[in-house]
Each structure stands twice: as structure tokens, then as C-alpha cells.
Symmetry: C2
Subunit: 283 residues, 2 copies
């Protein structure tokens, strides 16, 4: 029997092993400076923070610790967003891994949890957009330097997540009861075949539904929209079953263009964790 | 900073991610019923036993626990031999990861450690050859049923390993101070490129030097000899650099023939651990 922390760890590994996952590092693709091995080491490093969450540790500090461990490899940010989803989910699993429980955990977050979230940015460079002017003191890129402003305004981690919506679909999961993560888990359970193939199929289905917010931030809304439309066409044609090569080509093309739908990968990892933890999928 | 147990865990992941690793599951190849995801789950499951060893736990019980956790996936035996090397190495790392220290740990093993080793066979089917008649009561396939015979004869785990040489090159490492594991670590440090490519190169170099004992047991000495000769030709030609496709074809051919040089993979994993733990390679 794997513990919740171990299932979260395995979810990170299965996510990166899923292929083809257009635009991202996967079992068959590396980016230039961000390789498969960085994701393996990132998952191993995150383990202690995940255990802290599983043992009932507060969400913010457990997240910071998981990010600090994840960052102990040379590729940079590998699983920041995935951990931001996994930490409250792992915490919920100690009680009951359901949407109401994880929502309650998010609602119960404090200013100290928000401070942990900001401190996590001290450990790794995360690509984020410019904040609006009134939020500049709370720009996450300030990391722990933003903590006094945060405390002054009395913002909890859930407050911070609410201010990041729309524009960040990881934050949206926090605000919407991890809706898409639970949907992903159901799809993983319903799919056939090895888990690495199911992960790829569910990734594509999620990408087909909503423009990836990391792509929108980095490459613009138009590119994010284009990627989603093309993913939708592939899903519509059931291309993973009927014309896998075209999906492989789409994956290569996005890698070449530097278009990495990382938010969609984060939600896939969250779905893998939920499905593993509930026994809806087995390895 | 990763702990020794985390480095051992990462070594297992990097080993299976190395490609092409002729005949074995790798980043690009699955066997029919033994897939990449089983190795990921095996590595995650082994973690607790590795931590037990890192915390100074006795070798036999830590090994049994790591195998029990490793076996909690549907693929069967994924990393039994690798763990038999990693557990004493992790134990040594708590003190000093050198050949004399790990040799001393092996020499200090007891009958209770041997019993843990036998009990590990209760958790997973491991392919082994027929023992000689006088060893039948100690056939490892009897698992814990062999423990009374073991206790009667007063055999330590090192004694058992000595009786398995020649014919099992994992046991040979125990008897020879982990000679090839340390050589593998040096080669990994001297190689260039991503660790997954270094792992593949070192695997091939080890395979080129000595016939794989798992292949010899399963497919016969002649096949093991043939595989080593072909690996030696590829190394001689520096084929991984100059004609990678031919190595890929060799890898596919061995997978098709069901020829899996698992012992060589085990030693590669041990080398990865030593090199990671000493900081001779970094991710």
C-alpha cells in the first residue's frame, strides 16, 4: 500500500512519463535545458514536503518545503504548479479525498500559508505574468520580500489564489473545488491501457477544453487558443487511436516553438494522484 | 541536498530512464507485461526500505522491506537485484561510501540478515536457476520456508552470496567489494551528456565486459556470451556516438527475443547511486 505522499510522488512520475504530451517534456521528449531527468529528480526532491502535508502539516509550509526539494536539480522549475495542486489534495487524503474536503482545506488557509507560498518563489524561478499596478507589492516574483505587504493586507493563500483567477488555471482549481482535477481522475479511470498512455490521452482532452494559461502568459492568448483548437481537432478525430503520428508531430512542433502547456500537465498530475489514491487506477 | 535514500531512489529512476539499454525496459521500450510505469512504482515503493537502511537498519530486514514495497505493483520483479546492491551501499553512505566500508557491512551480516533475504522472495517471483542438490533446502524460491534450514546451518547473508558465485553477478559484487559498481560510478562521472545517456553508455560498457548472469540463467551461457560479444563490438565502434541506430536495433532485437540483461542494469543502478551520492554526477 502506497501512502498518499507516495501516490503524489508517483503521480508526478507518471505525468512526465505520459507521451505524447504536446509541448512538454515527456517520456520521448526533452526541452533544451529541461530534461526528463530533471523531472525525476524534482519528484524525488518534493517527497519530504508531500510527507509533511500528508502528516497534517499546514499547506503553505508544506508547499514551500516541497518546492525547495523539487528545485534541488539543475533544470529549474519542473513541478511548481503540480505541487500547488497536490499539497492540498494530499492533505485532504489524510481525511477524505473529496472535493468538499479539499475545498475546506483551501478555505482554512491563513496568511502564514500565503507567506509559505511566497517563500517558495525564493527557491525557483517561475514564469508568471506582470501583476496589475495595485498588486505590485504582492508580485510573487518578490518572493519572501512580499511577506510584509501580505501580512499588512491580511491575505490568506486562498485570497491570493482568488486574485490569480482568471489567468492561472492552477489557482482556478483552488477556487473551483479542484473541478478539472477530479474530472481528469475520472477520465483516467475510464481510459484503457498503460497509465502512461492514459495520462497522455487525458492531457490532450484537458488541453482541448480550455486554453492553457501558462501558454497564454508566455506566448499570448492567440497561441493558447490555437493550441487548444488543434488539440480539440485531434480529440474529435480520436487521433491518439487512429493517427498517432499526427499527435507526435503536433508534440514535436510545440516543443520546437517553445510552447509548453504546463498548466494542463499540472492538472493531469493532480488527476493521476486522485485516481491512484482512490484506487480507480492501479499500476 | 538529497539524502542517501533519495539518491538511491533517484538512481533506480535514472537507470530505467537510460536509453537505449539493450534488452531491458527503458525510456523508449516496454516489455509485454513489464512496463516503464512498473519500474516507477517499484522505485517509489522501495523508498521506505531504503530509508530503513539509511537510518542504520540491518541489511536483511531493510532489503526485505524495500522488496515488499517494490513489489506493490502489477509488473512483478522490477528492481530486486538493484536493491540487493543498493541496500548495503545506502547503509555504507551513512558512514562513508567506500569499498572497504561496504565490504565490512557485508562481512558483518548475520543469519538474521540471510533470513530477511529469504523472506524477500515471499513478496515477488524472482527468476533464479536450479540450486545444486545439497542446496535444495536453501533454494531461495522456498522463501521464508527455507529459514529453519538456514538457521540450522548458521549461514549469514554473505555466506549465501558466496554460494551464489559464480552464476550471479549481483552476489559477486557482494563478494568482490562492489568492484564493478564503483567502476560504473567512475565511468558515469567521466561520460558526457544527460545522465540518462550516460546510464545507457555505462550499461553497454558493462555488458560488453562480462556476460550478463540473468541472461545466462534464463537463456543459456551461449546467448549471454553472444550478447556480450555484440555489445563489445558496439562499444569498440563507439556506436552510441557514431551509429546510434544500430544500438537501437540491437535493443529492439533483444526485447523481441526476450533477452533481458537485468544484472547489468542492477550494477548500473548501483553505479548511479555511488556517483550521485559522491557528487561525481549531478542532475
Amino acid at each position: 500500500m502506497r501512502t498518499p505522499a507516495q501516490n503524489a510522488h508517483l503521480a508526478l512520475l507518471l505525468e512526465v512519463a505520459g507521451t505524447p504530451k504536446p509541448g512538454n517534456v515527456d517520456r520521448h521528449r526533452d526541452l533544451e535545458d529541461l530534461r526528463f531527468e530533471h523531472f525525476l529528480a524534482g519528484a524525488v526532491g518534493a517527497q519530504r514536503g508531500l510527507e509533511q502535508a500528508a502528516n497534517g502539516g499546514a499547506v503553505g509550509p508544506a508547499f514551500e518545503r516541497s518546492v525547495e526539494g523539487m528545485a534541488a536539480q539543475g533544470g529549474g522549475n519542473t513541478q511548481f504548479g503540480a505541487l500547488l495542486l497536490l499539497v492540498p489534495l494530499v492533505r485532504a487524503a489524510a481525511d477524505d479525498l473529496s472535493q468538499p474536503v479539499v475545498e475546506a482545506i483551501c478555505e482554512d488557509t491563513t496568511v502564514a500559508d500565503a507567506a509559505g507560498f511566497y517563500r517558495a518563489f525564493d527557491h525557483v524561478d517561475v514564469f508568471v505574468g506582470e501583476p496589475p499596478a495595485e498588486m505590485e507589492p504582492l508580485d510573487v516574483r518578490r518572493g519572501s520580500d512580499a511577506v510584509p505587504a501580505l501580512e499588512e493586507r491580511g491575505l490568506t493563500l486562498l485570497d491570493i489564489m482568488e486574485q490569480s483567477v482568471p489567468g492561472d488555471d492552477v489557482a482556478r482549481e483552488w477556487v473551483r473545488g479542484f473541478e478539472r482535477s477530479f474530472v481528469a481522475a475520472e477520465r483516467l479511470a475510464e481510459a484503457d491501457g498503460p497509465l502512461t498512455e492514459r495520462a497522455a490521452a487525458v492531457f490532450l482532452s484537458l488541453l482541448a477544453e480550455r486554453p492553457d494559461t501558462l501558454v497564454a502568459t508566455r506566448s499570448g492568448e492567440a497561441v493558447a487558443q490555437e493550441v487548444t483548437e488543434r488539440a480539440a481537432e485531434l480529440v474529435e478525430r480520436n487521433a491518439l487511436e487512429t493517427d498517432r503520428k499526427i499527435v507526435e508531430r503536433f508534440a514535436d512542433e510545440l516543443v520546437e516553438r517553445g510552447v509548453n502547456p504546463g498548466t494542463t500537465a499540472d492538472i493531469t498530475a493532480a488527476g493521476l494522484f486522485i485516481a491512484l489514491e482512490r484506487g480507480a487506477i492501479t499500476v
